[in-house]
């Protein structure tokens, strides 16, 4: 009898304490942050905007209908991200939860005028952060970017996230960003997005997100230059980050165009000329599927295919070499060549690493391409 009583007391005590009741937060008391925007707000101040999803409104079919939106954007200014987030929390009736965040959008102006490295300390220190979100730069104001209504997805941050993944760019997560910016031999390449200024799609003034190139950042995370769309995709290939790309080239003498879909993008760095660290050979490889052919080439002939492969290799080589030269002139080594040299010639690297942005310009990098033509589609020649 007494034993029963003791057991009951013990069980009650265990129930109350072991369920963690003091820390329990119901899902309807949480505000899920899907995107964070960071803007410049004056000397040493930062304006943080959080895009918070409203799950009850997200069930409306076909995006947003009428006036109800499936998210709200709340912003506040503060001394750093945490300070501003505290002020945002004060405006909200639910606790902010950022573990499902899909996007961190930093405005170009902020990166120019402020030391962006300080942003990343909180991301690494606070254990509530999941570093799986994507970091991008925005041309314009990050707050406006978060406010746009997307015609296909319900939130612009989810849309930007999916857009980057669908287009074959999966390694732009925040964790990659932090690792790359901490490594001495690599610099960061960040996608630059902007709101599509085309006429509004759909009846609700929805806008699409457009990629407006890629920003090349140096060691202090300042923008050294911007690569446009085609240069950027070439650079991503040379970085080893993309998974597939499309390519259209003109045949000799302007006699039509050829379009390929390139998959299994790879790249390899080697130092040549007797292991001389100043001469680097970057080999890019891919498998190409021919999808559009308006030239007089007949794809069922083996000679034509070999000629095509040679031409393709040369054309890609010249294009990528131009991109490489352009980036080299800007300075930052986004390709990780410094890291390769660090591993291969570690003692030589010790003398070079201090000023790698300048020293990278002295390295001669030649690009070679080796494309394997996998298939030429289901028709041999153009149907005239």
């Amino acid at each position: 009898m007494i034993r029963c009583f003791h057991m009951t007391c013990l069980l009650l005590f265990l129930l109350l304490t072991s369920a963690g009741c003091t820390d329990f937060v119901e899902p309807n008391q949480l505000a899920f942050v899907m995107g964070t925007g960071i803007d410049y707000a004056g000397e040493e101040m930062v304006e943080v905007s959080q895009q918070i999803a409203i799950p009850s409104q997200m069930n409306a079919k076909g995006g947003s209908s009428g006036d109800s939106e499936s998210f709200i954007v709340v912003s506040a200014k503060g001394k750093n991200v945490f300070d501003a987030t505290q002020k945002i929390q004060k405006k909200l009736s639910r606790r902010l939860m950022s573990t499902h965040r899909a996007l961190i959008a930093i405005s170009e102006e902020y990166i120019e005028k402020y030391d962006a490295k300080k942003l990343f300390d909180k991301l690494n220190r606070d254990p509530a952060n999941n570093q799986r979100d994507i970091t991008v730069l925005i041309k314009g104001s990050a707050k406006e970017f978060l406010k746009i209504k997307h015609p296909l997805e319900q939130l612009s941050s989810i849309a930007a996230n999916k857009e980057l993944l669908i287009n074959g760019m999966s390694s732009f997560t925040t964790r990659q960003f932090i690792i790359d910016s901490a490594t001495e031999g690599t610099r960061v390449l960040v996608p630059l997005l902007q709101i599509d200024n085309d006429k509004d799609k759909g009846k609700d003034k929805a806008r699409l997100i457009q990629s407006s190139g890629y920003a090349v950042l140096d060691k202090q995370l300042k923008i050294k230059g911007i690569l446009n769309e085609s240069e950027g995709s070439g650079a991503i290939w040379m970085l080893g980050k993309g998974t597939f790309q499309g390519l259209t080239i003109a045949w000799k003498d302007g006699n039509g165009n050829l379009s390929f879909r390139l998959t299994h993008l790879e790249r390899r760095i080697q130092s040549v000329k007797g292991n001389d660290p100043k001469h680097i050979l970057l080999t890019v490889k891919a498998q190409a599927y021919l999808l559009d052919n308006t030239t007089p080439l007949d794809m069922s002939e083996a000679d034509h295919m070999m000629e095509l492969k040679k031409y393709l290799d040369e054309k890609i080589q010249t294009d990528l070499q131009d991109i490489m030269n352009k980036v080299q002139k800007l300075g930052p080594d986004i390709f990780g060549i410094g890291e390769y040299l660090h591993r291969k010639h570690p003692y030589w690297w010790k003398s070079q690493r201090e000023d790698w942005d300048e020293n990278f310009k002295q390295i001669q990098v030649s690009v070679k391409a080796n494309i394997q033509i996998r298939s030429t589609g289901t028709s041999a020649n153009q149907v005239r």
Partner: protein
């Protein structure tokens, strides 16, 4: 109360894994960067040899616990003075792990729960197991918790294949040089394994031969895991970030994302670590109370266990107030004087005296 050698293996493995997953990787990585796996390997080898030395001492004095044979070998006065050093060591382990556990829980999972509740739950459990069951209950728990812990800890290292870039561990040696590697070893080797508990536990082992083999295997498993974990950490994050991570194994589990679906499995890792900490804490408490009862002559070691739990609780509550005392992992005194003294110097002396005595006995037997 006897422990079979299979249970001995698990007890040693769990007690060592608990501290290895928590402290030495961070300490080694701060000094040695990419080559911290070399530091861990060196530290592991040093610890293996220390374990072997301790086993030699135990084999020489098979039927006595540490308290009894230290008085035999060194004389009762010196023996009685040296033994409290070991008591301090075990008490320090108890407080360090309990405090680390509570701090970690507070940071990661239970932000609002007061520390006392977490502490009370664990302390009550540990005291109960030592009071009711003694070492047999603890070893049976270890038998069950051990395989699960090892399985999860090893498997979790390899769940990150697409993020691992093996080249991040290069260049080997060129960046750091032997001095940094040795410094890394020196600052971390104390925490990899705990050989002092063997001094007491060996008395309870059933079959001394197989028990010593089991202990060596247990230490080797922990060392292998330590080196592997350091290497995987480097593959995934690279040396700059890894040097700043305070609890690297936990951060590693946060990075796992399989097919973008299985994520956030650090929720598995934390309860398992708590279970392992429970085993280690109960072993330390048992050894401490049994030792004190032998040393002071007070027979009822179970009562002493309850008493020590109260002191431990009070100490933990008090020690968080002055912040300087609370974080003593890098203290010069601890790392360079206290631990080597307890782990290396005393067993060496005991071994030497033991072998001299044996040789004298042997000679006397030969003469007669």
């Amino acid at each position: 109360m006897t422990i079979s050698s299979y249970q001995m293996f698990w007890i040693i493995t769990i007690s060592s894994m608990v501290t290895t997953s928590y402290l030495p990787i961070h300490l080694a990585m701060e000094e040695a960067r990419q080559d911290s796996w070399l530091s861990m390997l060196l530290g592991g080898l040093i610890m293996l040899s220390i374990t072997w030395l301790t086993l030699r001492v135990c084999m020489q004095n098979k039927d006595k616990t540490l308290i009894a044979f230290i008085q035999d070998l060194l004389g009762s006065v010196l023996g009685k003075i040296l033994v409290p050093v070991y008591f301090l060591l075990w008490f320090k382990q108890l407080t360090m792990i309990a405090k680390g556990m509570v701090d970690f829980q507070n940071l990661v999972m239970l932000h609002n729960t007061p520390m006392i509740v977490i502490l009370l739950c664990m302390l009550f459990l540990v005291a109960y197991v030592v009071y009711k069951g003694g070492i047999t209950a603890i070893s049976r728990c270890a038998e069950i918790i051990g395989p699960i812990l090892i399985f999860v800890l090893f498997v979790q290292l390899f769940l990150n294949p697409e993020d691992m870039n093996m080249k991040r561990i290069l260049p080997v040696y060129a960046d750091t040089g032997w001095l940094a590697i040795v410094k890394g070893t020196l600052s971390s080797f104390n925490y990899i394994v705990d050989p002092s508990i063997i001094l007491m536990l060996f008395f309870f082992a059933e079959n001394k031969r197989t028990a010593s083999r089991a202990i060596l295997w247990g230490t080797a498993t922990t060392v292998i895991w330590g080196v592997l974990a350091t290497m995987v950490l480097m593959f995934v994050t690279g040396p700059h970030i890894a040097a700043q991570l305070v609890v690297p194994v936990y951060s590693l589990t946060k990075y796992i994302s399989i097919l973008n679906f299985i994520q956030n499995i650090d929720a598995f890792f934390i309860p398992l670590w708590l279970l392992a900490a429970f085993v280690k804490l109960s072993v330390c408490l048992f050894i401490l109370s049994y030792g004190i009862s032998e040393w002071s002559g007070f027979r009822n070691w179970k009562l002493i266990a309850c008493f020590i739990t109260l002191i431990w609780f009070g100490f933990n509550l008090y020690s968080t107030r002055p912040v300087g005392d609370a974080f003593t992992l890098k203290s010069f005194f601890l790392n360079n004087i206290f631990f080597p003294f307890v782990y290396i110097v005393i067993p060496l002396i005991l071994w030497l005296i033991g072998s001299i005595k044996q040789r004298r006995k042997h000679k006397r037997q030969l003469i007669h």
